[in-house]
């Protein structure tokens, strides 16, 4: 029955994407919650607003996702009480990494992307693995549809290559509306081939004026 510890985790599926621009950041995730070959619900948000300019999207095991979001929100509240200001995105990025590594030997089974604006108002995206190793990038995608989406983003975003010297900012030269359109296109494509991605797409755009939310219907099969 439960001879090993494999019952402690399950993959509830889903895909997240984030794209950083010169003065905006787009974070998107589908809203399907699956288990095995069943769908639990078509309307579960994988995105959590942690701070004014900082948004977390996670996919993986939903129990851990929720616990991680609550953990970070609580730590952010304490930070606000102690420092009388919101946490910046780079600070939250390091906090998330440390929180994940803290459970290095019983990990949070979550694949996270942190998106927002850095201290200069430029878009920033941080991409993580399950145990906290992270990197600031211009764009990223995680989750069951990640491998389907990443090559399309590489091709379409026209971001400067990370191999260039002197190193350039990784943000995309695309405008905010072009980036949002691209996100909608890649999710429509991922939905075609990934059984765990679909139902509805939640898009969050962070820019100087604040945080905006948009929804798009995806295929339900």
């Amino acid at each position: 029955m439960a001879l090993r510890g494999d019952w402690v985790y399950e993959n509830n599926g889903g895909t997240c994407v984030a794209i950083a621009g010169s003065d905006y950041c787009v974070v998107a995730a589908d809203t399907r919650l699956s288990v095995g070959y069943s769908i639990y619900t078509r309307d579960y948000s994988k995105i959590c607003k942690l701070a004014d300019k900082c948004v977390l999207a996670s996919s993986g095991f939903q129990g851990d996702m929720k616990a991680l979001q609550k953990n970070l929100s609580a730590k952010h509240l304490i930070y606000q009480h102690q420092h009388n200001k919101q946490m910046s995105c780079p600070a939250m990025a390091r906090l998330l990494s440390n929180t994940l590594y803290y459970k290095r030997f019983f990990p949070y089974y979550t694949f996270n992307i942190l998106g927002g604006l850095d201290n200069e108002g430029k878009g920033c995206v941080y991409s993580y693995d399950a145990v906290g190793s992270y990197e600031r990038v211009g764009y990223s995608c995680q989750g069951t549809g990640g491998a389907l989406i990443m090559p399309v983003l590489d091709n379409q975003l026209k971001s400067p290559s990370p191999l260039l010297l002197p190193s350039r900012d990784a943000v995309t030269p695309l405008s905010e509306s072009e980036a949002v359109d691209l996100v909608k296109d890649v999710f429509a494509s991922a939905t075609e081939r990934d059984i765990y991605t679909g139902d509805k797409l939640e898009i969050i755009v962070v820019n100087a004026t604040g945080i905006r939310q948009e929804f798009l219907d995806l295929r339900k099969d």
């Binding site: 029955m1 439960a2 510890g5 019952w7 402690v8 509830n12 639990y40 619900t41 095991f61 929720k66």
Partner: protein, 253 residues
């Protein structure tokens, strides 16, 4: 330090903690699917009343040990809780909730715990038990109405949870949810909701090995909780193929 107790005949699944107490990691007496649906006045839930006892801890078949198990219970004034899975763990959960409701009542501040709070609490309890490798082996359905707002959600054994207009546990996810998705609408009357649930219960009765023909339907509205008397559904077995099962294939098998 812990060590596992492994007997020679079967790979036993109890682990002895250094405190000396044991925990089991496989269910022993289990109930089957619970279904839930939101309707115009509130929330309606249904489950059958049977509980299977597994023979030894491995998959060696089971016995229908109890035929009058109440899988759905009211919690406080505003909530109904249904559980499938290990019955003794459900009883433990009811004890946790009893304590919670009594403490809440003792504040005597005019406020009372609603279904959202109960759902969140149970979510945390299930997740934290999973973190300690000592789970409550249940899938819970939490439903209720408070201040006119209807709520229906599910929490699984390891803390997976969601909220929706219709929920089901176990086999219900495969057999009942598709029916609910096709037929659910906003503002169903009580009779319409019962019809949908009975359709689902009938499919489960035919196709789930552990289901029995004895059900209870419970509803919760702003006025309160009603749990029906146990009743049975009409089944049909008069198919011609059942009349002479070996026709066309004579022989020992």
């Amino acid at each position: 330090m812990e060590w596992g107790a492994v007997s020679s005949e079967e790979k036993e699944v109890s682990t002895i903690l250094e405190s000396g107490s044991q925990r089991t990691l496989s269910p022993y007496v289990t109930g089957t699917s619970v279904l839930g649906l939101k309707y115009k006045d509130g929330v309606i839930m249904a489950a059958d009343m049977g509980a299977q006892k597994l023979n030894t801890r491995c998959s060696y078949g089971s016995t229908l040990r109890y035929k009058s198990v109440e899988q759905i219970k009211p919690i406080g004034k505003h909530t109904l809780l249904g559980a499938s899975g290990e019955i003794s763990d459900f009883q433990e959960i009811l004890r946790y909730l009893d304590e919670l409701i009594i403490y809440d009542h003792m504040w005597d501040d005019g406020n009372s715990l609603g279904p959202k709070e109960v759902h969140n609490y149970l979510n945390r309890v299930m997740y934290n038990r999973r973190n300690k490798f000592n789970p409550l082996w249940n899938s819970l359905v939490v439903g209720g109405v408070k201040n006119g707002q209807k709520y229906l959600g599910m929490v699984g054994m390891i803390g997976t949870h969601y909220e929706d207009n219709h929920v089901a546990t176990g086999f219900g996810n495969h057999l009942a949810r598709p029916i609910m998705r096709a037929e659910w609408r906003e503002d169903l009357t009580f009779e319409e909701a019962v019809k949908i649930l009975e359709k689902c219960l009938l499919v489960l009765l035919y196709r789930d090995r552990s289901a029995i023909n004895k059900f209870q339907i419970s509803k919760i509205t702003e006025e309160g909780v009603t749990i029906s008397e146990p009743y049975a559904l009409k089944t049909f077995w008069g198919f011609s193929a059942f009349q002479n099962p070996t026709k066309g294939a004579e022989g020992s098998w």
